[in-house]
Subunit: 347 residues, 2 copies
């Protein structure tokens, strides 16, 4: 293994100490935010937000649970890991400015593969203007573990929690739903084909949009900017990581209200419809339970409807009712079906 | 396995979803800091530090790399995982107020064992007045992974970085060094004995102090408070997690200076001396390379000597020189030996 790595000019991580590894991985990251006083290299990063509220979100991704390197390029993985954290900060109606990244990796990883991961992290940082200000690198007994903490800020009055939805508010979602999940199904299918016939060169061009949604999702910073430009303050907001069903239940529970969501209003892409036919899946089910869309689900006062009605990227799904725990889907056949969700259950 | 767990009234993690698990683990945590506006339960925590600088530190602990559950009780592990992060914030001369905790665990862990871990986390939060404001729980393919991010604050002018040490500054350390490492050696030895004879009941009372330093270390918040009370501003500071050698090199490199450290000034406990004799180890080596002491190593201007000279808990180790990269130990035999360190190298 080591011989092979040397033949391929790859560098075993064991050739570097921790300090050298961190230096190697982070040397191309620049500091761009005024709020970053001191980044990597001391016991803690120093941030300065003056009088704003600080937003903090964190999550952990584990190989074999959250991602499969058989069909996830390291660079995409790094990008997506950052995106999912930024999305949480945007879901508070805040701006994200810093992240810390901790990595645990087994000795099967080379420096070059981890550098690919950091190229993806760097691309996301650059696109969303985020400073990498800290982290940790360590070895693991098995596989790759990525733990990211995102830090952002917002004026106190501008923060949108999950808990503020009010009677008659409109329920709105950005973008379209379910495509990321469908992209994963296609990757899994191709991986099975590959195992049987490694020389097969699949033509995935028909699925480009679905694969992009799965492998290189974006966080909806643009929606937050749209709110600021149009003086919209969502009464509640959450990002769609586990699926529409799960997220709408979170908003209703946190806000102590119910809702009616209309099936025919749920935005799905043409590519999703087409793939659902091929996979014999119901597109509404995929859109509601799929997850990993990183779209924003939010509620607004009806008086703000005028401000969003011309946005082709925002869909009004339904409205808030005062029937506590009545979280309903109104189907195309006008049946009322309770929306249920186990949330995320990976154990 | 499952049958046995049920017989013992233990709850497999798989019986709970993620949301229920988080609720179960965090329900006894209270919010005590004014700077915590909103803790667990939304996309991000909301913090408010008004005009102070924010300090952020993070690290990742992996089972089999950083800890061995054969001789580390889960409760102690949780406590120590928090302590090591608080220590980083104190090492900036800041106060720590919030943490996030992410846990990855394989299916061999029961709810009760993870609750033990959180009891330790809670005990540390309570003692140091820290609010748990977020985190993530997920499954892992192997073992336990703990990733903690600590958030603190300080007045800008009060922050002590690694990089501020100046010519003729005194080098000072809190507490004593090496005992945590020695405690680990004792635990490892007893674990080997246990493997051969599981019925052996060891008498570890002679090693109580060393074991406590390894299993239940404390972070030196009291030293930070002492600085504030006595109007001391360290010119540079770092916490001792990897060992005195490694940390003094960090300070010298970051500050662009050199130093002389005197062997006979390095504080070691009587228990360490005694155990070193038993293990045929050199106590200076253990004190300099041991690590996990979580003491504070700092430099002060000589004019501040009067303020610390009566503290039995602070030891002046030597002084800063302007010989860049001359990081020297002056031995008891008055030999000058360059201090070297690989830092931490677990790969």
């Amino acid at each position: 293994m080591e011989d092979q790595e040397q033949k391929n000019n790859l560098t075993p991580i064991s050739d570097l100490g921790e300090f050298k590894l961190i230096e190697e991985l982070t040397k191309t990251f620049e500091i761009n935010n005024d709020s970053t006083d001191l980044g990597i290299g001391d016991d803690a990063a120093i941030l300065d937000f003056n009088k704003e509220k600080i937003l903090v979100s964190t999550d952990m991704l584990v190989e074999g649970i959250h991602f499969d390197l058989a069909y996830t390029p390291m660079k995409h993985l790094g990008y997506k890991a950052v995106i999912s954290n930024l999305s949480d900060i945007y879901a508070m109606n805040g701006n994200c400015t810093q992240i810390t990244v901790s990595i645990g990796m087994s000795n099967r990883f080379t420096l070059e593969s981890i550098e690919e991961l950091y190229l993806g992290i760097r691309a996301a940082c650059k696109k969303y203007n985020i400073d990498l200000v800290g982290g940790d690198t360590t070895s693991s007994n098995k596989g790759l573990i990525i733990s990211i903490t995102a830090i952002g800020h917002a004026k106190g009055k501008k923060v949108s929690k999950r808990s503020g939805a009010k009677l008659n508010d409109l329920i709105v979602v950005s973008g379209d739903l379910g495509s990321a999940y469908m992209g994963l199904q296609i990757l899994k299918r191709e991986n099975e084909v590959f195992k049987v016939n490694p020389n097969n060169q699949p033509d995935l061009s028909d699925y480009a949009y679905l694969l992009q949604r799965q492998l290189k999702p974006e966080a909806r910073k643009d929606v937050i900017e749209f709110f600021a430009e149009n003086d919209i303050l969502p009464t509640s907001m959450i990002d769609i990581s586990d699926g529409l069903s799960s997220e709408i239940i979170h908003i209703c529970k946190s806000s102590g209200i119910g809702c009616n969501v209309y099936e025919d209003k749920i935005p799905v892409s043409e590519e999703l419809r087409s793939a659902c036919k091929e996979f014999k899946l119901h597109s509404t089910t995929v859109a509601m339970s799929g997850g990993e869309d990183y779209e924003l689900l939010f509620t607004i006062n009806q008086k703000d409807y005028e401000k969003i009605k011309n946005s082709s990227d925002l869909s009004v799904l339904g409205h808030i009712t005062n029937d506590i725990d009545q979280v309903n889907l109104i189907t195309k056949a006008e049946q009322v079906v309770p929306i249920t969700s186990q949330g995320w259950k990976s154990f």
